[in-house]
């Protein structure tokens, strides 16, 4: 197809502003998806995404649209995630587009990630089409929303469609604006091939499948190609697009978005952000990749069944293909055996990774509480970067410790300023600034320890503001703090996977909170188990898990066998997600409980 009839765009928005719903409508209205194939949130094809109603992976779909100018256009729509954890995915999708539809929920107005994502799009030179969503809702305020977009972001909204993605109202205007406002891709079909790999995944039959945006030249079945960063060479076996099912095509050329398979068995050869070129007529330079996002949060992942370590390794290799922001390296825990320390973008990301590993690779995993990277300066002047609290050296060797801080931008209506500031103070936040954005709305800036916001900060923020506050944050550097390692002892034995680094002033409260949580979570066993929290070898909190005294079926006769056996199997199934550490069986949730930021014991 002639390039001038191609449009590559994505949809960006704050979480829950209606991106995926709009994508569904666009898919329907372009006749791409037959009505009977329509599932809600079609682009969210991971079970996990549909269950949680969020978008995790970006997804590229080709649609054909018959525009009012009488021409047939080819749209490549790339869906993007909205949660703050996944902004890396957003920047990847932006690199494959010329334009972006910015969806703003008119019942909520501009939110923190509306800003963050718009700035990302502007950085990538994308044309932005603002769209005002949810105008069918009673509490919709399109005028206010438009004014906010114009005032805060500086985008002209005079032509912004007022839509309801849910009902389809005015979505046709959005499609027309894609044609009229977003530029057609440029690039020479005859130039040497340059295709940007913006995603990849592993197919057990066909090897690694790479998703690409072709910038220059063309890519056909039978071509020999080279990945410019890794140097790996392959012969292209299949090329295709998704609509959203996979459809094979003969080739892809400048301006196209699609995928290719080349029987690539080595996962390491395909890097997201790399450029693919042709072996016979190579490009002189790779395309500019994009900023690699560094993980902010680290946690340990261990197979419940030690024998499945290699399976976990393999699964992580494959998952990384599909999720370049995931990093991992082997580690060993006295309590948990062989596993991996994984770097992730945030708690939700970690949750998603764990669930995908368990579902897609049929693993049972133990995940330890996430930790940030602490900079520990030793008395000899050297610095250790500690991503696992258990590795923190003995206090006698430490000169001082620094922890990462973020600049958190919180957008909040007047009436919740007090509650939000209280929350930030409680989380050891340092007030920076507050700006009035427009009537009734404010941007509060705090510097907060990253460790304080990775767990439940977002949820607490939402609940203390009745859902009105929104958050965006970026790392701003390290600060010296009075931090100590707190160890947890079960039945007298230190469990390294439960160690946590805490601020000294909070140690006592946290210690008693954690021991009580553990008491609730660890099932009674056949003996009494003391649970202790200790700092520097000194016990600061203690409780006991009483012993299990009776666990037997009262009645078990001939007619009960099936049912009672199922009961036992259920008990056994529960144990799968537990880990035997020394003599104590610990459930998965217990490893996360050290994070529980309810500072008072529950």
């Amino acid at each position: 197809m002639d390039q001038k009839y191609i449009r590559n765009f994505c949809i960006i928005a704050h979480i829950d502003h209606g991106k995926s719903t709009l994508a569904d409508r666009i898919l329907e209205m372009t006749d791409t998806v037959k009505e009977r194939d329509m599932k809600t949130q079609l682009l969210d094809d991971m079970d996990l995404e549909r269950e949680r109603g969020i978008t995790i992976k970006l997804n590229a779909v080709q649609l054909s649209y018959h525009a009012k100018d009488g021409h047939e256009y080819l749209f490549n729509l790339i869906d993007t995630p909205g949660h703050v954890d996944f902004s890396y995915e957003v920047s990847r999708s932006l690199a494959a587009c010329e334009g972006a539809i910015l969806v703003v929920d008119s019942t909520q107005g501009v939110q923190a990630q509306t800003l963050a994502n718009t700035y990302l799009a502007l950085d990538n030179d994308l044309e932005i089409i603002p769209v005002i969503n949810k105008v069918d809702m009673n509490n919709s305020q399109p005028d206010v929303t438009i004014r906010e977009i114009e005032d805060i972001i500086g985008l002209d909204c005079s032509e912004a469609p007022l839509i309801s993605a849910r009902t389809g109202l005015n979505v046709d205007q959005v499609l027309e604006q894609v044609v009229t406002h977003i530029p057609a891709p440029q690039g020479d079909k005859n130039a040497p091939l340059q295709a940007l790999v913006f995603d990849s995944f592993y197919d057990p039959y066909r090897g690694v499948i790479a998703l690409v945006r072709v910038r220059e030249g063309s890519l056909k079945v039978g071509d020999r190609i080279r990945f410019m960063a890794t140097g790996a060479e392959y012969e292209v076996l299949e090329t295709g697009i998704r609509n959203p099912r996979e459809v094979r095509v003969d080739g892809l050329s400048a301006g196209d978005v699609g995928w290719f398979a080349a029987s690539i068995k080595s996962i390491k050869h395909v890097r997201v952000g790399d450029t693919v070129t042709s072996v016979s007529k190579p490009a002189s330079e790779p395309l500019a990749g994009y900023r690699r996002m560094n993980p902010m949060v680290y946690c340990g992942l261990y197979p419940s069944d030690a024998a499945r370590y290699e399976d976990l390794h393999d699964a992580l290799d494959k998952l990384q293909l599909n999720d370049a922001s995931l990093q991992y390296e082997p580690e060993t825990s006295q309590a948990l055996g062989f596993g991996f320390r994984c770097g992730v973008l945030g708690l939700l990301h970690m949750d998603v990774i764990q669930e995908r590993l368990e579902r897609e690779y049929n693993l049972d995993l133990i995940c330890t509480a996430p930790s940030v990277i602490y900079h520990v300066y030793l008395s000899d002047g050297s610095m250790m970067a500690i991503d696992n609290p258990a590795k923190m050296p003995d206090a006698s060797r430490i000169d001082h410790v620094e922890e990462p801080y973020v600049k958190a931008s919180i957008m909040v209506p007047d009436s919740y300023i007090g509650a939000v500031m209280d929350l930030c103070q409680n989380k050891r936040g340092i007030y920076q600034n507050m700006e009035v954005i427009d009537a009734g709305r404010n941007m509060i800036i705090y510097e907060l320890p990253l460790s304080e916001i990775i767990y439940d900060f977002f949820d607490r923020l939402k609940s203390c503001s009745k859902g009105y506050a929104s958050l965006d944050y970026e790392l701003v550097g390290y600060r010296k703090e009075d931090l100590v390692r707190m160890d947890i002892l079960l039945n007298g034995e230190q469990v390294d996977a439960l160690s946590v680094i805490v601020h000294r002033s909070n140690a006592y409260k946290r210690g008693s909170g954690i021991t009580i949580r553990l008491k609730e979570l660890i099932p009674k066993q056949q003996f009494e188990i003391p649970v202790q929290a200790a700092v520097g070898g000194k016990v600061i909190a203690r409780t006991n898990i009483k012993s299990l005294r009776k666990n037997v079926l009262a009645k078990c006769y001939g007619g009960d066998i099936s049912r009672k056996k199922k009961l036992l199997e259920k008990q056994k199934e529960g144990k799968k997600r537990m880990k035997e550490v020394g003599s104590v069986v610990i459930p998965q949730e217990a490893f996360m409980s050290v994070l529980s930021r309810e500072d008072e014991p529950k």
């Binding site: 009674k524 056949q526 009483k546 299990l548 005294r549 009776k550 666990n551 037997v552 079926l553 009262a554 009645k555 078990c556 006769y557 001939g558 007619g559 066998i561 099936s562 009672k564 056996k565 036992l568 199997e569 008990q571 056994k572 144990k575």
Partner: protein, 369 residues
């Protein structure tokens, strides 16, 4: 062992009750005369179809409430079974005290009933009402007298503990009362609240685990002193009066199951009869059959057998499955033996005394992953 032989035990379920106990999730229906008549006809069909020269040693009529039937219907039921019960060694019927009378007692005796299991539950009349029972402890004494008058003196009493508001004194009094009736056998069950019961729907919970454990310990202390040996988790008997029929289950031997809500086990299969009465009446021959793999049978043999104080004869296990217990369960079995949770003495595999009341924990270690 009776492998490849016909089952020697029969269970017949009578799915009718005159009132519903709050803790009960067995198959039951309010008694209606016409429906019970139809049920007797269905049962006859089932017996004629499935019973070709059975060689029964034990028969157990349970429910529901067998004595919820009218005297005439009870007579018909026992008449249907007469051809098969002449030579049985134990012929048990469950009895609810307020539905037994002189007439029914004499019918039971005529047909050769040799053992009666009576639901006492507790001697506290207030508590009885609270758990949905419609009799008093005096009614139980009266039922025992009636049965003994008709020569049925192998009597077992059912008691419950960990009931809402029950305390240790009340439990002790119930045991004292039960012993005063001089039963041959006692079953003591802790309350399990099942979803599909009045208690389950009302959100009633049993007493806390500590109290329940205290009560269980007290039971296991008092009854042996009175001469009742604990031979199973919840069952106690004077020497020689262990329930032969129930031992069939715990020895994991085959048994027939007849009527709605019953289960049976024959020839490496377990089957469930429809639990819905209408479904049963429509097709009395219907069975949902679950084939049992060798692994199923090995585990279930252990699951049932370890409930017995005497445990499992390892030679029987070997003969039945062609491999030893250790071969069958491998490392988890070795571990349990090493830890002393399981013990082997005199060729018998037993759950150690200290872990007997924690049998579920032991069994779940033996379940295949």
């Amino acid at each position: 062992m009776n492998q490849n032989k016909k089952p020697q035990a029969l269970y017949v379920h009578v799915p009718f009750c005159r009132s519903i106990c709050f803790y009960c999730d067995f198959c039951h229906r309010f008694y209606q005369e016409k429906e019970a008549d139809a049920w007797l006809q269905a049962l006859q069909k089932e017996i004629l179809h499935y019973f070709v020269n059975p060689e029964l040693r034990t028969v157990y009529i349970g429910g529901g409430t067998p004595t919820a039937l009218s005297a005439a219907q009870l007579d018909s039921l026992l008449r249907l079974l007469d051809p098969y019960t002449k030579n049985v060694r134990e012929y048990t019927i469950e009895i609810n005290p307020e539905t037994l009378d002189e007439n029914k007692a004499s019918i039971l005796a005529e047909h050769g009933i040799s053992r009666a299991s009576i639901g006492l539950q507790t001697a506290d009349d207030k508590l009885l009402r609270k758990i949905g029972r419609h009799h008093t402890s005096a009614d139980v004494a009266e039922a025992v007298r009636l049965l003994k008058d008709h020569g049925i003196d192998n009597i077992s009493l059912d008691l419950m503990y960990s009931l809402p508001d029950q305390n240790m004194a009340s439990l002790r009094e119930s045991i004292r009362f039960a012993l005063s009736l001089q039963p041959k056998h006692l079953s003591l069950y802790s309350l399990t609240v099942e979803e599909n019961t009045v208690f389950g729907r009302k959100g009633i919970t049993p007493l806390d685990e500590d109290t329940e454990a205290d009560m269980y310990e007290e039971i296991c202390r008092i009854l042996p002193q009175a001469g009742y040996r604990q031979y199973e988790i919840s069952n106690f008997a004077l020497p020689g009066y262990e329930s032969l029929h129930n031992l069939v289950y715990w020895h994991y031997e085959d048994f027939y199951g007849l009527s709605a809500g019953a289960s049976g086990m024959e020839d490496h299969c377990r089957y469930d009869k429809p639990s819905n009465l209408s479904e049963y009446l429509n097709d009395p021959l219907k069975r949902d059959v679950i084939p049992l793999s060798k692994e199923d049978e090995m585990f279930e043999t252990v699951m049932m057998g370890l409930r017995l104080k005497d445990g499992i004869f390892l030679q029987d296990f070997q003969n039945r499955f062609g491999m030893s217990f250790s071969q069958a369960f491998g490392a988890p079995a070795e571990k349990l033996l090493d830890e002393g949770k399981l013990q082997i003495t005199d060729g018998k595999l037993k759950c150690a005394d200290a872990y007997y009341h924690l049998l579920n924990s032991v069994l779940s270690d033996l379940l295949p992953v």
